[in-house]
Symmetry: C2
Subunit: 372 residues, 2 copies
């Protein structure tokens, strides 16, 4: 039986581990490396699906935790799944809900069976287990489901991380058992914190299960940059070459470059949409805090090197005005720009890979982008 999602490796850059490929999914093909905008609550904040397509978005994320709470699974089921509910006919990846249960909600009780938590909305007690997570994701009907895991934070010690990682492996088996929809793929997540021996064990055990793709979890969780790089470069190259590789929660240009350089194909983050609503533009010449008085009479575009709708039609002075008077159009215009920035960055990385000049492109780009 053919897989719901398969990866076709097209080219390996000669100067590093970066690779270009195509991810075949039930809702269409995805050119990789790819940045995936996050549609937390059945909408990529401020955007219509048509606008996302115009930007070149190929796949978006949905958040199991949020959709489980609101609108809830009875409505999602009657709606016929997330694609239909939100009017998006391209691929969707759903996370497992694990990350939000541990970060956003208050876990009241974690056992081998699953997690009981207090909803961040109304405090009501809720329960998610590997089986519930897969059931919910099957109702959502995503092209790619993620296994239910615990994302261990930076402060966790070896003993906690080991126990958690082993439990995540047992949860993975239960996810696979609960997975009955043959038109939805299931990705496993390599955990193990910042300990090479645990990463080895998680990697060996996770990839021993013949899944449709593999993610790296538990990095980019507040650690120093050197630790991110160490674990990324230790783990990513060991993932199976013939399967898609996904680094979860990555959205800053430097981390995206490092991920792709290490052989990652997919990344997602709320960063571009969240900072947009706070008035920050990511540009080819670095970050621009549009609210700054310096832009009061700046009638140039946000980013002179950008061809997005916002930069073609509006000035910094106008967008600053919109932010100052709390007009929704300000958040829209910045969201369009930031998503375009990251989506086209990944497209440019892909071209650089085909041209075997990934490292040179990375250095040029990051030099102009500057430091935080």
């Amino acid at each position: 039986m053919s897989r719901p999602v398969s990866f076709e490796l097209q080219h390996q850059s000669k100067d590093c581990g970066a690779r270009a490929g195509i991810l075949h999914t039930p809702h269409g093909d995805i050119k990789t490396p790819v940045f995936m905008p996050v549609g937390t609550k059945a909408t990529v904040k401020t955007m219509t699906p048509e606008e996302l397509k115009d930007l070149g978005a190929q796949i978006i994320l949905g958040n199991t935790y949020h959709l489980f709470l609101r609108p809830g699974m009875d409505i999602m089921e009657k709606a016929g799944g997330l694609h239909k509910f939100m009017h998006w006919d391209k691929p969707i990846l759903t996370d497992s809900g694990g990350f939000q249960v541990f970060s956003l909600a208050k876990p009241q009780d974690m056992t081998e069976e699953g997690v009981t938590f207090s909803s961040h909305i109304d405090g009501s007690l809720q329960h998610i287990s590997p089986e519930v997570s897969i059931q919910v994701q099957q109702v959502l009907g995503s092209d790619i489901m993620m296994a239910f895991d615990e994302c261990v934070f930076y402060e966790a010690d070896w003993a906690y991380t080991e126990a958690s990682m082993e439990r995540t492996l047992r949860w993975l088996d239960r996810c696979m058992e609960a997975h009955t929809h043959s038109n939805q793929a299931l990705f496993g997540i390599v955990q193990g914190g910042f300990f090479e021996d645990l990463r080895d064990r998680s990697l060996r055990e996770t990839t021993a299960r013949d899944l449709d793709g593999y993610a790296i979890g538990g990095i980019s969780v507040g650690e120093p940059h050197a630790d991110f790089t160490r674990i990324l470069n230790y783990t990513a190259p060991k993932l199976p070459e013939d399967k898609p590789r996904y680094n979860m929660g990555i959205g800053s240009p430097d981390y995206l470059f490092e991920s792709v350089q290490a052989g990652i194909d997919m990344a997602d983050c709320v960063l571009p949409t969240r900072v947009a609503r706070n008035g920050l533009a990511m540009t080819h010449r670095g970050k621009v805090t549009v609210r700054n008085a310096a832009y009061k009479e700046d009638f140039g575009p946000l980013d002179p090197d950008c061809d997005c709708y916002t930069c073609q039609n509006y000035t910094r002075a106008y967008i600053r005005h919109l932010l100052n008077v709390n007009e929704i159009l300000g958040a829209r215009l910045l969201t369009i720009h930031n998503l375009h920035f990251l989506i086209s960055l990944m497209e440019q990385m892909r071209e650089a890979i085909f041209d075997d000049r990934f490292i040179a492109f990375k250095e040029d780009f990051l030099r102009a982008y500057g430091e935080e």
Copy 2:
């Protein structure tokens, strides 16, 4: 010398005072009767200019009071006017600031010279006079400027209304004197409250000044419906036939029908955009409060008789979900629908006028729309 704005009467409905025409302006022609969306702070809330054009918007309003305070006239001047600043190349009408000075700000001192008021934003003392209003509107570069007037509220007695109306006439002369931009039209505003004799005097004096168009001010200010109808029907038919007639601040279907029936060509209101952000849809079958639990599992469109982008692509259940989780897309989708509803209502009125069946169309439409 030709006028910046001229009105071409195309057809007079045989069953009432309703009329169809074309308003020629420096930024293009406008088919009347027309509903004008309000772009208070240099944006029609939640919308891009392209979206407004897709809905068939022919002209929008800008608010002198708001733009005077923010971004302020130095920026508007350097931006090259409101059209360029907000990326809108079709006609713009600006109000005089008078209404907001009296309703939103705190007038500290009103004299023959003008009004000193306390800004609703930071409490700073500001001053607007007929001359300032016209100067500001000339910087904004609108196609149609409105004369600076006092809009008297429903409670005003005869003596106050008379004195105010006479002052508004003197202010009109000063506006005409201050008006130096030959590519911008100036409309006068007939005041006189709810007193026929004062309306007569204001009408005679205002239309004696040879202006580019005339508005009715001071109705739809909280009065009983019968008073609105009485003054509208007393005043509108007496306005010059060869000039555009504008009823200010009208946005509910019944008031729009009555206005057009009395011979009005132009109307504007924040109603469709404001109620949209509060979750209310105006539909062919009446108002729909989308947040109601009744629509939780309603997978039909907002308005089954509507062909707007929202109704073609989204369900009530989805929009209700967006409103419940405070997603911007919810406000966008409702704004698109409500503006489309009123813009296309005016287009249908125009067709009915050409077919001499305005009254029949009005009765059919309002029967289905139902009561508040």
